[in-house]
């Protein structure tokens, strides 16, 4: 029997965000995968060249709705490096607190999505309820649930009070109990084992060759974590373990993330118990001298790397962002080969993809569309049929 080419996406009920997978099938077995991205490309890199550094603080945060703080942290670290500005120690601790709260809520969110993808919606309801505890903490300190607007160049904009500390520590006690429960679920629950064990295999040598990052790499036994390898913020002071497993499958990616939740709770406790006294913000100039800087952080999904080139004005000359999902894509295509079609959603979900961040780079339309460019639903349908026909698929 011949192969069947199955286009999934850009719009498809199984996908949370628009991307296109063209899957070549031999019966139920996946032979080849081609991934097409760019459907939510927003032109942020180009846009950043037209904004001042202060405006960019808030733009860069909107690259992603989940790991927004990792991006804004990278941005401020780059600018501060070119300025040669050492920020107050208390501000570093508060920034680290936000980096870890973000990892907590992101991993809880992912655990729910993974449960949902394998039809285990009870887990989804449980984890998203617990995620709200973290969201409440973020809102309590920063005033925002998603884009926290915490950073300024030279420090942070809001302080952590005694009451905040008390509430954070109380919540950590609760979340630690929950994390123990999820650890148990991940290792023993039959639904998860049946769907995740030996699924989406990524061998360590393949992960290294294709530069997988974050929990995806760590579940293949590669001990890579920017927090340890190139310590930033206050990670040098903070004791924590890098979690790895050697099962190379989706189950390993579940276990790594659950155990990372436990580590994050430990880090947050340490930060709250050792929070230094002092200022939280240093004054920074508006104009940034000519220079270049590279900053990378361990975002919840893996290495997030930013490059800044400044030219002595109030606006950056070039700003480049590479998010972890893009780095994990070649490895994902490898994981999908030789699996079954029914496992595709969970394997893709297991890298914790974030297409919104990945696609960011440029301006497709500049907001001044000509009236003639609006097309009707019928035209769109015909365009879609033509698009696929040109590529040899039958509608």
């Amino acid at each position: 029997m011949g192969y069947v080419k199955l286009p999934i996406g850009p719009q498809h009920p199984a996908l949370k965000e628009p991307e296109n997978f063209t899957i070549t099938l031999d019966g139920e077995r996946v032979v080849n995968v081609d991934i097409r991205i760019g459907y939510i490309h927003r032109g942020i890199e180009k846009l950043m060249e037209t904004r001042t550094y202060t405006q960019n603080l808030y733009l860069v945060e909107r690259i992603c709705g989940i790991c927004s703080y990792a991006h804004v942290y990278n941005f401020t670290q780059n600018v501060e490096e070119i300025l040669g500005l050492q920020i107050p120690k208390r501000a570093e601790y508060i920034r680290t607190l936000f980096l870890e709260l973000e990892r907590l809520h992101s991993h809880f969110l992912w655990l729910g999505v993974a449960g949902h993808e394998i039809g285990f919606d009870t887990l989804f309801m449980y984890t998203w309820q617990d995620r709200e505890v973290v969201q409440d903490l973020l809102e309590m300190i920063s005033g925002n649930r998603v884009n926290y607007a915490m950073n300024a160049i030279g420090g942070v904009r809001r302080d952590v009070s005694q009451e905040h500390r008390k509430k954070v520590l109380e919540s950590m006690d609760y979340l630690e109990k929950r994390a123990e429960f999820y650890k148990n679920v991940a290792i023993n629950e039959k639904t998860i084992l049946a769907r995740a064990e030996n699924v989406g295999i990524l061998k360590p040598q393949v992960a290294l060759r294709l530069t997988a990052v974050g929990p995806t790499a760590r579940a293949s036994g590669i001990s890579v974590d920017i927090r340890k390898d190139d310590p930033y913020a206050s990670y040098l002071d903070t004791p924590f373990e890098v979690i790895t497993t050697d099962t190379n499958d989706v189950l390993g990616r579940v276990v790594v993330r659950v155990l990372e939740i436990v580590e994050s709770i430990k880090i947050i406790r340490y930060l709250m118990e050792h929070l230094p006294e002092g200022d939280i913000l240093k004054k920074a100039p508006r104009k940034i001298p000519e220079g270049e800087s590279i900053s990378h952080t361990e975002a919840p999904r893996g290495e997030d790397i930013h490059y800044l080139h400044s030219n002595g004005t109030e606006k950056p000359d070039r700003y480049k962002v590479r998010t972890p999902t893009l780095a994990n894509l070649p490895a994902t295509a490898e994981m999908l080969k030789e699996t079954y079609l029914a496992d595709v959603p969970i394997i893709v979900a297991a890298i914790d993809p974030c297409m919104g961040c990945m696609d960011r780079v440029l301006l497709l339309k500049d907001g001044q569309e000509k009236p003639g460019e609006l097309i009707s639903g019928e035209q769109l349908r015909r365009y879609g049929i033509k698009w696929y026909a040109e590529r040899g698929w039958n509608a």
Partner: protein, 148 residues
């Protein structure tokens, strides 16, 4: 015990490596030496982690920055190509993860990686004809039309 930086500097002895701060190394090379340098990184330093490729418009030239990581140290290889001949040797055969990053710089800055196996668009739509948006002289299509 030698630090990762010392190890890298030792292997790359004789090359103009610049250390801007701990964990950050830069090396500028002419574009003819790109493959030779990549082979040194791959075989003698056993680097596998290519973080990304940045490209930027410098006026008459386009600059490329290949960011590698070895034990937390970011090693950046810099090279340039002139705008009237925006080509560069593809490094996909040495570092397979470059495949998407080379497609991206081809898309947004019009740099052609010679020998790349699959130069389809990555972030822009397939039918895009509006030029290379990250070049400094680029204008959005509506403005381009208004001028004509």
């Amino acid at each position: 015990m030698t630090t990762p930086e010392e190890h890298i500097l030792e292997v790359l002895k004789g090359l103009p490596v610049l250390m801007t701060r701990s964990h950050r190394l830069f090396l500028s090379i002419p574009r003819e030496d790109l493959i030779k340098t990549m082979n040194i990184l791959s075989s003698e330093l056993a680097i596998q982690h290519l973080s990304t490729i940045t490209a930027r418009d410098k006026g008459n030239d386009l600059e490329l920055l290949y960011h590698f990581m070895l034990q937390g140290v970011v090693i950046t290889i810099k090279t340039t190509c002139p705008k009237n001949d925006p080509t560069i040797d593809s490094i996909v055969t040495i570092f397979p993860s470059a495949i998407l990053y080379e497609r991206e710089i081809h898309d947004i800055l019009g740099i052609v990686p010679r020998g790349h196996p699959d130069l389809r668009r990555l972030v822009l739509p397939d039918e895009w004809v509006g030029g290379y948006p990250l070049r400094k002289d680029w204008k959005p299509p509506a403005e381009q039309e208004a001028e004509e």
